[in-house]
Symmetry: C2
């Protein structure tokens, strides 16, 4: 297959190219260490060599349960070099889900930070490697410390090419944190992530002088493919041990960070921290945000600070961004209010993804009226190969030749797609569709609200109505239910406004998102007990 004029597309080529061109340039900046591209590549080779030493080969699944770290980044290359498959696990997932994934994926070796290790994991893997030193002595025998496991590979060049003959072979399985049912394993191939990375270099405006801070956990779609894109362009990966707001701000300033990715919730936390003000005179920061619709207030706050917000949309199944809210020249003439509305749209297909539309039940595109709801469907080289060992779910999600997102959206007259929520995130009130996201966005635009979530309550007359659950900011005035409802009535059609407002302190969170179903349960229990 590999010939003088055909090279399977794989992100491993990026590592070789950046090594070739930027051998002595800093590739990695950690809290207490740094690595050149030469050292980074050598470490990737050493990981591959160490894995091979214990019998790992093509197609084997290797799992990591770890916060962001250099070791986790290495896995994105070292595992792939053997034609093996990386399974990054969400550190916030529960023991049962982790065991399900280890078993379902057939993981051979689990690399893990000791703080996340449970005795039950041993039964589902051949070997456990602790990413730091082992503190406890009570673990079973099939355990090793990373230091012992990791053998330095002496060869200058490892012929990984022979292990990747086909660009469609799987490089990673990313398990979705499904709110219903078991997690599904999203299989992604070398070709997809290669093209994603190329697109991200362009859309993220990366260059070889960029410094990318790993805020977004790599267990979210391999940092939305940036685990590879940053290497592609020869930029520097920057790691933090702790990722609280203060540490992020300090790193931005001290390391002259140019890029990071983060979900809107992380951006909210950051901007509510006093240290955020230190960024006021900072130049050249680009933040790629996705994972939920950012409310206009977030975008405006950051842009007022001089930050360039790149708003994209993707899913685990599209392996990172499929849509981008691409800036148009005529936006230069839009008012601030108009811009705030426009910039929260998920946007248009990316350079590499090309095809996305909003369709009705019969796969007919809905009118571009900014009003008619439909489902977003997508196609392209970035779409997953399928759900691992789940042909039925794969077939279902690929029906009619398109990947079905399950996300409900409208399409505006300018062709920009705006998500209104998942199918279950729509409240049907008096026959009208009310988007929970739209109401939440409006609540977030209130200057005194820190967290807002909208749940559904049953209503005899209207069927369903919105119920706002909110948390006020520290030091906010003592607002009442009516204040909130009146605020909404000023900006939304009345049928979209909350019928009820509850002030709440402890929101159940997962992956920095409010777990709305859980919150609904807790709020209902609270009222039942009252």
């Amino acid at each position: 297959m590999r010939t003088v004029n055909y090279e399977p597309l794989t992100p491993l080529l990026f590592l070789e190219r950046s090594y070739r061109v930027f051998e002595n340039k800093v590739a990695i900046i950690g809290d207490t260490f740094s690595k050149t591209y030469k050292e980074f590549r050598q470490d990737c080779y050493s990981l591959a060599y160490s894995l091979k030493n214990v019998g790992v080969g093509s197609g084997d699944r290797i799992a990591y349960l770890s916060k962001n770290s250099y070791e986790l980044l290495l896995a994105h290359y070292g595992v792939a070099m053997l034609g093996a498959i990386l399974v990054t696990l969400n550190v916030r997932q529960d023991e049962q889900s982790i065991n399900y994934i280890l078993k379902h994926s057939g993981t051979k070796i689990l690399f893990i930070e000791e703080e996340f290790l449970k005795e039950s994991y041993f039964a589902n893997v051949e070997k456990v490697v602790i990413l730091n030193k082992i503190n406890s002595t009570h673990w079973p025998q099939n355990i090793e410390s990373y230091d012992c496991f990791f053998k330095t590979c002496k060869v200058k060049s490892l012929s990984w090419q022979k292990n990747i003959q086909d660009e469609i072979s799987t490089i990673a399985i990313n398990y979705t944190t499904g709110t219903t049912g078991n997690p599904k394993g999203v299989e992604i191939c070398h070709r997809s992530v290669y093209l994603n990375a190329f697109c991200e270099c362009i859309q993220g405006k990366l260059n070889s002088q960029s410094k990318f801070l790993h805020v977004l956990p790599m267990f979210h779609c391999n940092a939305w493919s940036y685990a590879w894109a940053v290497t592609a362009i020869g930029a520097s990966h920057v790691f933090l041990k702790t990722t609280n707001a203060k540490a992020i701000v300090a790193s931005i300033i001290n390391q002259k960070i140019t890029h990071f990715c983060a979900a809107p919730t992380v951006l909210i936390n950051l901007m509510q921290d006093p240290s955020f003000q230190e960024l006021r005179n900072y130049q050249g920061l680009n933040i790629i945000t996705a994972g939920a619709s950012p409310c206009p207030r977030i975008i405006k706050t950051y842009e007022d600070m001089g930050v360039n917000i790149i708003h994209v949309f993707g899913m685990t199944e599209t392996h990172g961004p499929h849509l981008i809210c691409e800036r148009q020249k005529d936006w230069d003439f839009a008012s601030e209010d108009e811009l705030a509305e426009i910039k929260i749209r998920q946007g248009v297909p990316g350079i590499h993804s090309v095809f996305a539309k909003v369709v009705d039940k019969n796969m007919q595109e809905v009118p571009w009226d900014g009003n008619t709801l439909g489902e977003i469907v997508m196609r392209g080289n970035n779409i997953m190969k399928g759900y691992y060992k789940d042909p039925v779910a794969t077939e279902q999600s690929f029906r009619n030749g398109w990947f079905h997102s399950g996300d409900l959206a409208v399409i505006h007259p300018d062709g920009y797609i705006e998500i209104k929520g998942r199918e279950k995130d729509i409240i049907i009130s008096g026959g009208e569709n009310v988007s929970i996201a739209e109401v939440e966005n409006m609540l977030y635009s209130h200057p005194d609200i820190a967290i807002a979530s909208v749940i559904t309550i049953q209503d005899e007359k209207w069927g369903e109505r919105p119920h706002a659950v909110i948390k006020l900011k520290n030091g906010a005035p003592d607002l009442k239910e009516d204040d909130i409802i009146n605020f909404c009535r000023e900006h939304l059609a009345h049928y979209k406004c909350p019928a009820k407002v509850t002030f709440w302190d402890n929101f159940p969170m997962s992956n920095d998102k409010v777990q709305r179903e859980l919150l609904k349960q807790e709020v209902e229990d609270y009222y039942a007990q009252k």
Copy 2:
């Protein structure tokens, strides 16, 4: 082949994406017209529709003999939409070569500007379409004007996807203007140009606000792939009817041009024109240069004006850039003289091309010493499919699994490749290799020399020695042979310096390059007659 998660890579996707995202943005700026992306795409569809109407189908060869024009750009899309193959012809080629190419390629339709048409072409094609109105009445019958040929396609979307099922299918054949033997047809596939265009968006730092001036003829590797790259990013193509220095400068200023491609000779012509000084306060211009080694003086002159020079290297067989003189951070600390030396190097592999080395006769990489000569060999997705209908030449150039460039080069300790010339461009003097390019570069660094070419003379003692043939600038002081030789001796090892200097007025040129072999003949004749 095409599925929900597999889309053959083709630059036609770029057109669809930019239409989807930038429908009403200006795609094309001509002298007297402009087109939005919607109109541009529609015109591409209309060309495809018109070609289909006359029976053009998958695999057919369609030739264009034309200076740069909007119609020629359309051909890069409209022809490809049918799965047909574009053959762009060099307007400076002689009648015999054109006939050879038309015959060898089996061209079905020839699109041509009337000024280039010869009666003999009719015998080799089914149909001739004149790109402007037909002035002469003496042509044979199988001729049509473009206006009559071009039918507007009414459909909003043309299902070109069915015609391109395989990304490895041929999109273009570019004939080399070989100095020896017949031209060879370089076959390039959809996948190659897709990846090239992606890489060029990154390396050329294009964005959707960029304005690309078509200075480089599109018959040179489809404008080194920029015919597609500019569309990929949603930037604007800008066309000029005349491409003299004055017109180029005026267009840069009036249209706010951000990018163009040009060979060093074009850059020399431009900088010697009085209008060049008007660019003194111009900001944001990027020039991609290749096609010959630019001498340090060219790069410095442009950079002193605030122009960003992007120096790349490629061949017809690599379809545009394979190497780029990628800027390193530590160059910030280099002296002007050091930089001048560094920036003329062809550099390192591009993000998408990855593999290039300099090898000896046994395919062993030469030491990275900046001194040992070897041949540049390359591999990657941008390498041609092969020479059309010439399996012997293809096999020869692909021997040992690498494409053999025939270019001699050294590799510096920092890994940067520097071309010293073709095999025939090396003078062996007293057993030492003298690079003609190196001596020519030194001559060009003399402030009074307008054109310099170095030919070989036989020498009883040394075997061969360099002979400089030069033209002084208008208004230059009356320099003598010794002045030139002494200048060279100050900067070059003595054995590299010209043994003889001849002042010459009319240099034979082709594609803006001095035709050294022809010049050698003329100079020898001159001395023989004396």
